[in-house]
């Protein structure tokens, strides 16, 4: 068994973990660090439920090995506190079962930071990375646009 003891900077805290080379970042943050906000939906990079931030960009944490995370700034849903996008998701009923929600919020939050002037096609380009099975997406669209507007005016 090839084990690595590595340092991960997650939600502004330094964490030391011992991982197998083949452990995904998703597995590591859930099982070792108890950060279960990122969800396993496909383990194959297809659904986006495990989306987190790596250096501020959205990342599917099932498409990344924990050993690749060394030296990166990692943020999970647990690291977001009362952000405009979270408020907007609540107000606009942009979730039902809630399972895809952390991934959508992390993706949307990064969009707000990186592309504050995002137009419809940019929003689509980013958000089509995630699957929501409950809503019609129009609720999510409303929430994202509301948060973008709020972001601009603040």
């Amino acid at each position: 068994m090839k084990l690595h003891t590595i340092q991960l900077k997650i939600n502004d805290e330094q964490q030391t973990v011992t991982v197998r080379s083949g452990d995904t970042l998703l597995y590591t943050i859930r099982k070792q660090l108890g950060l279960t906000g990122a969800k396993p939906g496909c383990l194959n990079g297809d659904c986006g439920a495990c989306t987190i931030h790596v250096d501020g960009w959205p990342m599917k944490s099932c498409l990344m090995m924990a050993v690749e995370g060394e030296g990166k700034q990692i943020t999970t849903i647990e690291g977001l506190k009362d952000t405009p996008i979270q408020q907007a998701f609540v107000q606009h009923f942009a979730f039902q079962c809630g399972y895809c929600t952390p991934g959508f919020i992390m993706n949307g939050h990064s969009l707000l930071q990186k592309k504050p002037d995002a137009d419809d096609s940019t929003i689509k380009e980013w958000l089509e990375s995630n699957i929501c099975r409950c809503t019609s997406y129009s609720e999510i669209e409303k929430a994202i646009k509301f948060a973008l507007e709020k972001n601009k005016s603040s």
């Binding site: 279960t36 906000g37 969800k39 396993p40 496909c42 194959n44 297809d46 399972y99 929600t101 958000l127």
Partner: protein
């Protein structure tokens, strides 16, 4: 009303946007073992041998379980071994379980189990299964234990047959001057809930069986495990936390059995069975497929006189819930129309596909595709407006259903009003076809639906209310929060009833079958209907108890008291009052004397007057009420490429009353989205061995952000007099008409009659070329 109808924010909203919401797989127990399942690599094959020698040598392996000695399972008929023995009947069927310390060790061991198979001829479709010379999926069909209203035909692949015989067909055809017919088919597909199924089981030294599971039916898990394995039902405790999407797929009981068997094999230690996506799609039950034949006769004015219907449901390898799906399809087989002469044969067919679970709509989106496409064929033949045809035949109070239930003002909604509102919503006056340029054309298709919920005739629901010391209330119901917001709506109903702040009502989000009162299953859009009635009874119980003690404290007769704002007060002078907090745990006089005691409210509900169907005619009362709806879908179709975009989708549903506006809209639009996704893209593809070729979300593709149309929703408000505040079921109905409305739009756009799903550009191309 103060609270009903408002878009009250979900009680669990903050948890869901902060990552704090816990689902089954999020629970940690330090010593949880992992159960990894070995799946069948073939659709149909004899198992010649299973050799676990090498697998057992892998470090960390604690047990390997195979199927011998296990009882047969299945909800209506016991035809399914929990682990395949003798032969495998579908690709992905569970054959063995490795219980190991870690998933990796389990996977390694699983790969070392040597299984020899002899491939058998595969039954690919229900139509093939129905043929005389078809290979048999079950050779001993006659020997299975079953409920008394299940009618298998031994020596065939027919697991169940429901007959509807209403009126006189000869007369019906005689009165018909026009007839149309069509054959329709589509393969099984998937629920694709974002949370895959998972279950953990543990058996403590005192014999308590603890199961945590992602399920719509925790109470059924308890009943079935007790029954299958002869366990003491009181010692089975099932916990269900938040569920990450279900859509019917988590109403079947499967992983719980595997987890229980796994724990039993390792001396009761906790074992988790977690479905990875591929396993969830292949091994766990799927969305049913269908081959249908529809024939409709009508007179010159478009009045439908007769319908003859054959449904061959693709129940897959085991009958489980497909038996109920077959019955549900039969009872509403005509769609929401008055038809005096009906002949329907609905067959539950065995094939070598994954067996079927309920799917949102419970056979109705499926049957609607066949019926509503045929109605458009009829409209075309009569040269009649398709909405007018539907309106002319719309079901109404005074008519009877295929199973001869007499409809009244309460048990059916107002379809004509739905159609009328739909006309406005989709601008039907513009006509169904609008040319954009020489390639592009915008086309609208319409459809209608109805649905009753064919649940068990003795299905119960119960609610318990307790108080906190501040007078706030705890609401406990066995409804599982699968994303529908039902528990929040229950809180709204209680707040309305007690005229109090909804924030002072605390809802138990999770279900634990030991302490939560039973709600049969969280299915069939029956959460509010049943739990709502139980809740109103519990609220009445609480009010009575509050008034009883308040009447002593306030020295006023019970009849003079009112309850509101967490107080009991006299009607004429509200200043004479006592707070809930001062009486809900007994009232204490200044000298210390106390009266009364803890107030606990209880309420229950059971559906009444439902009956089994007559085996020869289908006569009987299958469900409490029929929600009706009308739909439209507008596409922009490219006549050169035969591709299309979804532009608008509309639903008008007779909802009775809106309890939570945004939640209701969310349910309807979400269901529409799922229906369009199913209709436009979702299906399993199989190879010649019956192997699923697309068991991943990159090849099985639910609709994504931006592929969706604009959604238009309107409601009609015909109260159901039996339901809390008149509310009708609405969780499924947005889905039901989407495949048919899309099929009707595209058939018109492409000038070709489409009879299959999914409605891909390639299907349109093939149909035009006559190659389907």
């Amino acid at each position: 009303m103060e609270v009903i109808g408002k878009s009250v924010i979900r009680k669990e909203a903050q948890d869901k946007v902060t990552g704090q919401a816990q689902y089954t797989h999020d629970y940690h127990t330090s010593k949880k073992l992992s159960g990894r399942v070995v799946l069948s690599p073939y659709g149909h094959a004899r198992i010649l041998s299973i050799d676990t020698t090498d697998a057992r040598k892998v470090p960390g392996v604690r047990a390997i379980i195979t199927g011998e000695q296990l009882p047969l399972t299945g909800e209506s008929m016991r035809d399914r071994p929990p682990l395949a023995t003798d032969k495998v009947r579908y690709h992905g069927e569970a054959v063995a379980i490795v219980v190991a310390d870690t998933p990796n060790q389990g996977d390694l061991a699983a790969s070392l189990i040597q299984i020899q198979y002899e491939v058998l001829p595969v039954v690919h479709t229900p139509t093939q299964a129905f043929q005389q010379n078809s290979p048999l999926v079950h050779e001993h069909l006659g020997e299975y234990e079953r409920e008394k209203d299940v009618y298998p035909v031994p020596g065939t692949n027919i697991a169940h047959h429901v007959k509807i015989r209403k009126g006189n067909m000869e007369k019906g055809w005689g009165e018909s001057s026009v007839t149309v017919e069509g054959d329709y088919s589509f393969s099984p597909s998937d629920h694709a809930a974002m949370e895959t199924r998972s279950s953990t089981a543990e058996i403590t030294p005192d014999g308590t069986i603890k199961i945590i599971t992602s399920s719509q039916a925790p109470f059924m898990v308890k009943q079935l495990i007790a029954s299958y394995f002869d366990e003491d039902i009181g010692k089975i405790v099932v916990d269900t936390p938040l569920v990450g999407g279900a859509y019917g797929g988590k109403a079947s009981v499967q992983l719980e059995i595997l987890a229980y068997l796994s724990s039993r094999a390792v001396g009761g230690r906790a074992v988790e069975i977690f479905n990875e996506r591929e396993q969830d799609m292949m091994m766990s039950p799927s969305h049913i497929g269908l081959d249908a034949k529809i024939k409709i006769g009508a007179d010159h004015s478009g009045v439908i006189k007769a319908m003859e219907i054959q449904f061959l449901w693709d129940g897959g390898a085991y009958s489980d819930k497909a038996i109920d799906l077959t019955r549900a399809g039969a009872v509403d087989c005509t769609g929401p129309y008055k038809v005096d002469h009906v002949w329907c044969d609905s067959y539950c067919m065995y094939t070598n596909h994954t067996y079927a679970a309920p799917f949102r709509g419970f056979s109705h989106s499926e049957l609607s595709f066949a019926v509503e496409r045929t109605l458009d064929l009829l409209a075309k033949k009569l040269n009649m407006d398709p909405l007018e045809l539907r309106e002319r035949n719309a079901i109404q109070p005074g008519h009877t259903t295929p199973t001869r239930v007499l409809l009244n003002q309460s048990n059916v909604g107002n379809l004509q009003e739905c159609i009328s509102k739909l006309r406005t919503l989709i601008r039907w006056e513009e006509g169904p076809v609008r040319e954009i340029n020489e390639r592009l054309v915008r086309v609208k298709g319409v459809s209608c639906s109805w649905k009753t919920s064919t649940i068990d005739s003795n299905a119960p629901s119960g609610v318990i209310l307790t108080f906190n010391r501040d007078g706030s209330i705890n609401l406990m119901s066995g409804v599982v929060e699968i994303g529908t917001g039902t528990k929040t709506v229950l809180a709204q109903i209680l707040a309305e009833k007690l005229k109090m702040d909804v924030d002072k009502i605390h809802v138990r989000m999770t279900v634990d079958t030991q302490t939560t009162p039973e709600h049969w299953k969280t299915v069939a859009s029956r959460g509010i209907y049943m739990a709502g009635r139980a809740l109103l009874e519990a609220a009445d119980d609480v009010i009575a108890q509050l008034k009883e003690i308040a009447s002593i404290v306030l020295r006023a007769p019970i009849e003079d008291l009112e309850v509101a704002h967490m107080k009991v007060f006299t009607r004429d002078d509200p200043r004479i009052s006592v707070d809930f907090k001062d009486i809900c745990y007994g009232y204490q006089y200044p000298n210390g004397n106390s009266i009364g005691g803890q107030i606990i409210g209880r309420g229950n509900f059971i559906l009444r007057h439902l009956s089994h169907l007559d085996p020869e005619t289908g006569e009987g009362n299958p469900g409490p009420e029929w929600t009706v709806a009308a739909y439209g879908v507008e596409v922009e179709f490219d006549r050169r490429d035969l591709t299309y975009r979804l532009i608008k989708a509309a639903s008008v549903i007779d909802i009775g009353i809106v309890l939570n506006e945004k939640a209701a809209l969310g349910q309807v639009m979400g269901a529409m989205s799922m229906g369009l996704s199913f209709a436009g893209r979702e299906t399993f593809y199989y190879d010649e061995f019956g192997r699923v070729l697309n068991p991943q979300l990159r090849t099985y593709r639910p609709i994504r952000y931006g592929e969706n149309p604009e959604y238009l929703v309107d409601f009609v408000y015909t109260p159901d007099l039996q339901a809390a505040y008149g509310a009708r079921g609405v969780g499924e109905h947005g889905l039901l008409g989407m495949p048919s409305a899309l099929g009707n739009a595209l058939s018109l756009a492409a000038n070709v009659s489409l009879h299959h799903l999914p409605l891909t550009p390639e299907l349109i191309w093939k149909t035009k070329a006559g190659n389907v």
